[in-house]
Amino acid sequence: MAQAPALPTGFELPLKQRLPRIGAVDQVAVEARAAELGKRSIKKDAKVWALELAIRCMDLTTLEGADTPGKVAALCSKAIRPDPTDPTIPSVAAVCVYPNLVPTAVERLRGSGVKVASVATAFPSGQSPTDVKVREVEEAVRFGADEIDMVIDRGAFLSGRYAKVFDEIVKVKEACGDAHLKVILEVSELGTYDNVRRASLLAMAAGGDFIKTSTGKLSGAATLPVHLVMLEAIRDVHEESGRKVGMKPAGGVRSSKNAIQYLVQVHETLGPEWLTPDLYRIGASGLLNDVLMQLRKERTGAYQSKDYFTND
């Protein structure tokens, strides 16, 4: 068996009794299962329900060097009321920005129920000293962020220094205070499904409230098989400890059809109780308009031009 490397001292898996090991992932089989679930045919009411859920679970994201208060303000308006012509369309779950833009987002979203999420910890590479990362998190929380999306130190993870990764997550979690912590694994840099599973369990053991696939800054972001591997890790932690950890695919969910495939996986792997913004998020920027277009098509029976949907 591909033996999991020794775990850091002080690290206590939540999976003590029944899974006395990290476990393995079979690449061929997990890809086959993901492909099979991807073929579910979701129609009519079930489709409308899923698309509205996709909106309610969406973290509308802008993470550019060129982001300005004006750009973020526009995004916040879109987040609160995604389709100005249809007030029955729900708001998204959160707006996700860089720390410097958190104050703008907080102001714009006040009273709307839409949360403010901030990336932090030397996003996207994570290659900075731990105290600098912790400081960044503290600032973001002070600015009013409800949620922190941190990145793990992939350099440390890939060189086998799991203790460093673990300790850093613990420190960031402390710095978060009441803010929710999402731990970004950046799966496309981890190389194998075994590593994705290992990093998922590590992030959950260290206290992450959510595990998240990617920064969205690399081409290979969320994929259906990676998503499934992470959901199965979440399921194992829940089975063992009763703790419910959330899941967030990011970067790579571009179409409504694709979003429904992700939701089907959650539904059939973790069950309906995970189909809520409290436990499931989709990080995306381009997805929202496609979902709106599909919803309007379900309502009116016809596709409308992209010009009828605002670009924010």
Binding site: G23, K44, A46
Partner: protein
Amino acid sequence: MTELDRRGDRSPVPSDWTYAPAPESRDVVSLQERYGLFIGGEFLEPQAGERFVTVAPRDEEALAEVAQAGPEDVEAAVQSARDAFAGWSKLAGAERAKYLFRIARLLQERAREFAVLESLNGGKPIKESRDVDIPLAAAHFFYYAGWADKLEYAFPNRRPKPLGVAGQIIPWNFPLLMLAWKIAPALAGGNTVVLKPAETTPLTALLFCDVLRQAELPPGVVNVVTGDGRAGAALVDSDVDKIAFTGSTDVGKAIQRRLAGTGKRLTLELGGKAANIVFDDAALDQAVEGIVNGIYFNQGHVCCAGSRLLVQESIYEPLVDKLKQRMATLRVGDPLDKNTDVGAINSAAQLEKIQELVEAGRAEGAEIYQPPCVLPEKGYWFAPTVFTNVAQSYRIAQEEIFGPVLSVLTFRTPEEAIEKANNTPYGLSAGVWTEKGSRILWMADRLRAGVVWANTYNRFDPASPFGGYKESGFGREGGLHGLDAYLDFDGSETFGG
């Protein structure tokens, strides 16, 4: 405001996510009211005039009337094949290949039609007939088309010649796929064929006759006689040169007795009671998928189904928990719904057999689990079932159930796994789940089974030979071995039966 008010004029949505029905349209299939026997390129009435009704197992709807072939009909079909043999066997291999390629392409073009009809008449989920049965059937014709003009290269210095007329009797679990497994190598080798489809699932074989006409296959090269076991028996006794049978071990033994001393060739692909062996280092979630695929694929109507699960004791509890959880997500229902995972049991008789063995399992003391699922009232249905606390001596661990019923046993060491896996009169297939490559090879060396899957299950490919040890039969189908079984060689022994 209630949820409905807020949504204005829009249709109400469910509070929970229930997948809306997604039925595949059956309009692509146009059924005739009655079918004759396909002999010499024509549909002929059965001479004795006997007919029977073939139904849809999902709701017992009568689909069509089918002819019951009598001995005189079978004789006519064999004669027609005999007449066609002279021309067909003399045809250049490249010419035979053209017909086979044409059949393969037509199957692909008409794939939806075949898939819907297969699910309708057989009860299997449309996702399986669409993604497995029909594509694989076409693949078999493509594969053997490629060999038709290369027989000399396939068997160098052995001067391969066709056998003559092959009588082929196929089962109801993969009607079109088994037809392809039988007909494609026979035709590639230059033989002609009389095929008897299973009594409960004749319709795709009859639709296939239409493909043969479209492909302009010379009349008599393939003949199809429908009917129950009497038609099969008549075929066994007729003037054929070879019998190829896939079905139950009892019938296989009867055929072998009947053919003893006649000089007719015989290949048998019979029952199984395969062990699916999971070691404690296996990728558990994927092993669970493999177990589910091994036993609930095609409602367990699979001769190589992984019907005995052997679990290493150290992971027994988490694995069985995961399996039960997974079973609860299986969607049992209308075979034509694209989201259905488990369809209808093929026939009333098969349902009765499954019920009888499950009752025996309960009575012998095994613990039964069936996930909550609502089964349709009409038709033949059985919920996915797993038995734990099963002893090696129980009937459910010994006899082939041929239904969605899994028996779970445990082992402690690799040696014990081998001993238990081999402790059966059957030997068709086995599965091994471990992250350790060397253990896979160690196990494969010792398992007495024709096919050993490693970290997967129920995978088929036309290039890979398939067949059994012991009471699971002899002879191989698929690959070069499958071609060998339809050829005669000058002064040399055949291999693989």
